[in-house]
Symmetry: D2
Subunit: 285 residues, 4 copies
Amino acid sequence: MKVAFIGLGKMGSGMARNLLRAGHELTVYNRTRDKTEVLAGEGAHVADSPREACRDAEAAITMLADDGAVEEVVFGANGIAGTLHGVHVSSSTISTAMARRLSSAGHDYVSAPVFGRPEAAEAKKLVVVAAGSHEVVERCRPLFDAMGRVTFVAGSEPWQANAVKLCGNFMIASMLEAFSEAYATLRKAGVDPHLFLETMNALFGSPVYANYGRIIADEQFEPAEFRVKLGYKDMRLVLATAQECSSPMPLASLVRDHLLSALAKGQGDMDWSSIARVVAGNAGL
Amino acid sequence: MKVAFIGLGKMGSGMARNLLRAGHELTVYNRTRDKTEVLAGEGAHVADSPREACRDAEAAITMLADDGAVEEVVFGANGIAGTLHGVHVSSSTISTAMARRLSSAGHDYVSAPVFGRPEAAEAKKLVVVAAGSHEVVERCRPLFDAMGRVTFVAGSEPWQANAVKLCGNFMIASMLEAFSEAYATLRKAGVDPHLFLETMNALFGSPVYANYGRIIADEQFEPAEFRVKLGYKDMRLVLATAQECSSPMPLASLVRDHLLSALAKGQGDMDWSSIARVVAGNAGL
Amino acid sequence: MKVAFIGLGKMGSGMARNLLRAGHELTVYNRTRDKTEVLAGEGAHVADSPREACRDAEAAITMLADDGAVEEVVFGANGIAGTLHGVHVSSSTISTAMARRLSSAGHDYVSAPVFGRPEAAEAKKLVVVAAGSHEVVERCRPLFDAMGRVTFVAGSEPWQANAVKLCGNFMIASMLEAFSEAYATLRKAGVDPHLFLETMNALFGSPVYANYGRIIADEQFEPAEFRVKLGYKDMRLVLATAQECSSPMPLASLVRDHLLSALAKGQGDMDWSSIARVVAGNAGL
Amino acid sequence: MKVAFIGLGKMGSGMARNLLRAGHELTVYNRTRDKTEVLAGEGAHVADSPREACRDAEAAITMLADDGAVEEVVFGANGIAGTLHGVHVSSSTISTAMARRLSSAGHDYVSAPVFGRPEAAEAKKLVVVAAGSHEVVERCRPLFDAMGRVTFVAGSEPWQANAVKLCGNFMIASMLEAFSEAYATLRKAGVDPHLFLETMNALFGSPVYANYGRIIADEQFEPAEFRVKLGYKDMRLVLATAQECSSPMPLASLVRDHLLSALAKGQGDMDWSSIARVVAGNAGL
């Protein structure tokens, strides 16, 4: 397929590369042009604006930082709205409200956020969650297959995929909070967090637990895998979705507050697992 | 070794059987005698009281419901205190305060609570967390090896193992709360919880998530794997430990409150994952 | 002074009347015209639009339901922006973000939200909290004096008054939550909530406690003094302000969740003190 | 009446003095004898033990620090159980569980905890909450009238009065939490807490708000009116009562956690309103 790919950050670069590898014809755009060079060397065309990138595209994939960035790329001065004839595939982690707005931009639209870190994006191991009308989702399936190891379809309304993505990030954040509280208590009980981590690895057998459990046990919050700022944004967004649905999520509020504390204490660029520091501080550690 | 095993509930029966299989000489005691018969057929001696069971024992293992039951078996009229010459191994999920009391009963003492369900006990797949003086823990290691697939040593004070066990149950309870909140929001968003569960299985890759995530998605809270009553007890105990350590655990308080609500609504004998019903109710479901 | 008054709901009518009584020349506007009639009979001019109302006004006071209504009256088709030469006094309970937007509408601006119920508005017993540049606040002081029993100046930035108003409503909401929890426990302990209320009246000596404590003890949530919908909006707004300030407010989140539950259970038009019903429900009552 | 008064701390001294003033014949006992001297000078007999103090007493009033102190005085070596022929009036702030235990000590028993600070005790301005069998409560009424400005009867089971007392302290603690959160947000918004306090005084009109609101605005947490240690104890006790009643109190858990944090940070001897420091810390202040 002829694909425009907009947003070549750590995640986007890997995703774009896998589209090229799968034989799709790619035109890329990034706000700072230097990030496009490697992909150009691998066969991608480079465009000067989102609008130019999507001119002949059957699909335009956006992988951007937040609602604001997506809004600019879609509805801004050189945005894709009005030019794109194909389908817009939004893989960014955005609000369900923004997804609804993108649904009504005048072109076909699919939300297809992804789970996975940059290494997983590079290795075609992402988990894709798509939602939208059946026909449009199926049309995009070759793209999802090129970028991820598995694709789940959340429903026929695009924003439902974003709800799933946000709730998934909430699941991870809850695990961070749980580790933070358990470690704080155990440290005060004289038990080594690493001993507890080994036990939890034996119990849960999950690489996500192993990875974040180790970061927190080591208190190695820099460099960040996923920054407090972004985690805070996601918890705000999941709470916004929950409120749209009239569904209280007290645990999400608790984690949001600890991320907000981390922000207030200057930890915005640390890994979001550094809420452990806030929790430990509340225990006098 | 000559071993007394006291408490032949679902967990204890499997553990005792694996001790027999490993060649230990077992004397068993259970409050209701009928549960001893199968093990008697497999070679265990049967005693009429804890005291009698432990008379010649090198080790007495207790696997009982709660603090009260352990107190009775150790300090009660026919209890083991004063008679036992070997080491007392407490595998029950009890409070850290009770563990400290058991430490000073006049015989050697090790806390060795276990993670795993009855099937895991039967299949010698338990995770054992032991704590106590190095020499005594090592003396008991053949017993741990006979009952579990792996043993972790939490520290030199027995109650530290109980702190680890309680914090581990808290980790599971936190996951239940997270699933409950995510499912409630997604149900109101028109997304099938099973779709979310599949996504989380792809993300976390944990059998614990797969198991409890399915129970909650199916809303199949009976028969209980682990009852609300017991989960509530454990959350009370982890909070008691946290307070001994001056370490706030707000997520543990949140889960405790949802378990308490479940109790108040008559769900005491349902699976503890039925806090999902409380959470869904708060969303008007 | 020549004053435009926009928004003649329960609160606005009383406030406008007191401005008339104090000798100010009043032009009123309300979306539904019938509410203007009584005031017309008392000497007010009636305008057909906000813009017309404010044409010669030295001050335009708005007392409206929410951010959206204020936005429409200020920036909408027949809005006051561009026409008003005097100062805009916003007495509505709005977000701090909206207050900042109103500050930059091109005319002088003061936030002056009020505390008090409709009877207090009628009886000139409101508490006024004003903020804005010193000169502009002082120019409006005769208006505040005409409408309230006391005026506090929160700061030189208008939105600071809205922060105070929202935090004040949060203080009341916290009291509702506290009563709800105490009553639920005491009812289950067989103690009459009215007995507790009398005790609290002796202890706190506050008419606010007496009023809301009675409503909750009587479980008389209709007709509403202040609806769940509005209370929920205010808790959302105070949390938005708190997040702008990077200041976690876990108690505000807790109350927000109980109001959201009340909404989800169909209590949107009951008094906001009906969070007591949510709390009691969680205790199995 | 012939009255034994046991426990001459800040509260007890004032209460005992008012009993003397009202013409009752008083025998006092205190663990450290020097505190008995002033009252001896005012006409009280001094005993060497609780048992001796209550030998001929029609009523024995205990006003002690906690469950442990009351247990010692009642059931200890020189305790009143077995000797007292009159009624035991427990005015201490104790657990509902301890109150039930005192009910079955073999003599008549009334729980009569009080609200008010030492100055109020001295000035006969306490609020008394009594519970017990009607006949016994009425027999003690002259004593209540001598010590307080008003007496409320909570029920026929003594522990119900303790439930009311604990819930009353929870109401105050909730107010502390609410002030703490509002002040933190407002300080970060550049608003002087004292301005907010004045507004709240105009709104609530409560001396309790005025007093604690000022302490927190001034951040003057020493000397303590009521120490963090004691506040923490009371929140633990109200949560214990709530759990006996299967009634979740999430706000009580929140405050308990902030008091626990304060303890962990070394604020145990500061005023309990110093939870404001924990809350401010979480906002990065």
